[in-house]
Amino acid sequence: MSRIVGIDLGTTNSLIAYMDGAAPRVISGRNSRSLVPSVVAMTDNGLIVGDAAKERLIRDPRRTIYSIKRFMGKSLEDVAEELRYFPYRLHEQGGVIRIQVGDKHYSPPQISAMILKELKRRAEEFLGEEIRKAVITVPAYFNDSQRQATKDAGTIAGLEVLRIINEPTAASLAYGLQKKTQGLIAVYDLGGGTFDISILKLKNGIFEVLATNGNTHLGGDDFDRRVADFILGQIREHHGVDLAEYPDSMQAARLEAERVKIALSDSQKSGVALELPEGKGTFRAELTRDQLEGLVMDLVQQTVDPCRLALKDAGLPPSQIDEVVLVGGSTRMPLVRRRVQELFGKVPHSELNPDEVVALGAAVQADILSGGTQDMLLLDVTPLSLGIETMGGVMSPLIRRNTTIPTSAKEMFTTYVDGQTSVDIHVLQGERELAKDNRSLARFQLKVPPLPAGVPRIEVLFLIDANGILNVTAKDVRTGQSQSIEVKPSYGLTDEEVEHMITESFRFAAEDLKARQLIEARTEADSIIRATEKAFALGGHLIGPEEIAAIKAALAALQSAKGQDDHRAIRARIEDLEKATHHLAEVLMDTTLKEALKNKKLSELP
């Protein structure tokens, strides 16, 4: 069985991990950072993902996509309130948001796929083998559309998604593996864009989720916005400039807000500095931790109700929870820790890096699926009730929230009118009484033989699999014939669209490769230019004028090639420069060696 990796596809950062023997390990990039910023930049020369893309947020805000997870499985209406924070153009097509970059349109799963591909590439480079299978994590409170969108992203990226698992439960696996914990634990997971609370029972290797709750639109991003809005207000007041008109300054404000927020987790106050547009100078201020806490207090408070509801559904008072585990970067905030401690009456755990613990858990789950770890088993739940719309626009629940998955419910349908040949089914997810207040998941039509009203018997099986994703099958009870159902997702890509996006992604792959090669060539050019300049300074006096001229010419040629978009040309000029400096390098080597020898005693020589 080929290797399965674990992926944490986060709002702000993503990670990839694998099982190294008995221990899960996160794979770092060349820069030895394990986090890949979930940022995608479309440049004139193709696609860039991660750190390099993050650097373009300010320079090229309209073509640099971040926090795409907030749009996964959502309609435009769902995110209307926060659109003003995003510098790019959005529209909706077939219930799916599309992001316009130049004259191209991308769905959120396509953007996520670009991040997944970067992670995949990172793992392939590190492990020296092709990666085709993955476990991807999602917030526990993600609904069916959001899970399906995540699975689509994997497919578009060329990954077979063997399992979608919930982030807090993944974290519990990583903790459980390390500590062999038993008892009742609460996982409080506050990430960049989402909040989850899960209550689990750990017993003899079984991780049974008793209840989960959350908010898929609450996280560090929202804290940053509060701080950014505060900075924007100050600038308006003191400088009379409205940054909202400058997308690049807005991005700069957002990034500065994030930096200040993070700084205030360790210190009591932090300076704020922001370059104003059109050379109007620099805004400077100071923010204290108290001020920050005042700005985000109500957001942190919003995590309390879901915690109480989860405890209630689990049938437990907070005092019965044995351990509380913190997950997600936002739990580094002292305010969050205080609030959690008050709520559960005990000091929360955070021994494992809250940024990495979810990816580590995903790798553990991947190992379970590949037949490695056999003594651990995760029994998760579906976070939201599933039902269908019945007469009068009422939701009739079929599967209650916090039901252990996989789970199924059967429902028999018949007709109202003589000779009726089809029955419409509208599938919903949510806890509200009325159909319209719940999330519409899908609509489909049952084919019915023309018979008197009430005679046909169509049995529909709603099955939620171990990924928390709904599968629907139907059978005519009278004939025993099963019928295939074409489920039209309300907020998702159709299979054809996903197919199309896969082909498209192959088409762009060549272009993306070109972009990456260009970046790598430029980076290498920079370092060799720096090295040559240094060598000149050290040993310029040791070589002849002709040689100096040759090196200078090669340097100039490389500089000019670097400004162009052809990575081959850059590579060629790098080689030229290397040849031109070959002698200089030898001379330098000799002198340093002589220098070194002069300073050493004979006995020290090898």
Partner: protein, 238 residues
Amino acid sequence: MDTHNTPKRHELSMARSMCWHCQSEVHGEYFCQQCVKVQPLTKELDYFTCLGLPRQLTINADRLEAKFYELSRAFHPDFFQNKTQTEQAISLRNSALLNSAYRTLKDPVQRAEYLLRLEAGSAKDIRTAPPSDLFEEILALQENLEEFRSAGPEADPAGRKELQARLTTHRLTLEARQRQLEARLFERFTEWDRLQERESRGEQVRTEKDAVLKEMQEILSNRTYLRNIVSNVVTTIG
């Protein structure tokens, strides 16, 4: 298949289950003894049998959980990732059935309702009239509810508050009564279990069993009636 022993006549006429994979005979085992392939739990399998329990109402929660965990380890799709599609499909269906069985039997009220469905066809006749001794209480409550609804949120705050207090009192009375009903229901559990044991010793207990079932049915439908009214009150006064 074993063909050496001549089967008795009545055994020959019995239906025999075969392993879907190697066609050897199976007798309700979870895994075929010949080829070790997972076997589908049949749709007719009741939840008690699924969890290896006798059809009794008093259940030890720890033992039930242990059995659930044991079977989860046997059936969960996580452990069938490298198996054939057929086995994966069986694992998925078996897990779904197991989870439903555990969820239903874990909760005593759901357990009783399920037993009634098995034994008597339905858990409760839908009650439309209140239990006789609560008739006046519920009548008063309905009136108060009507008043509260028609007054709307703009009504004078004092009157509204008073109504709210009265409705809360009603709610508490009904909730106490609900708990009482549950206690009575649980008393029937022991009665039922004793009858089941006597029956297993060959005694005729059908009429007694029917009587207990009927009592439980009565209790459950009263309980459902009260619960609906309480939830009505809760959603109205918020």
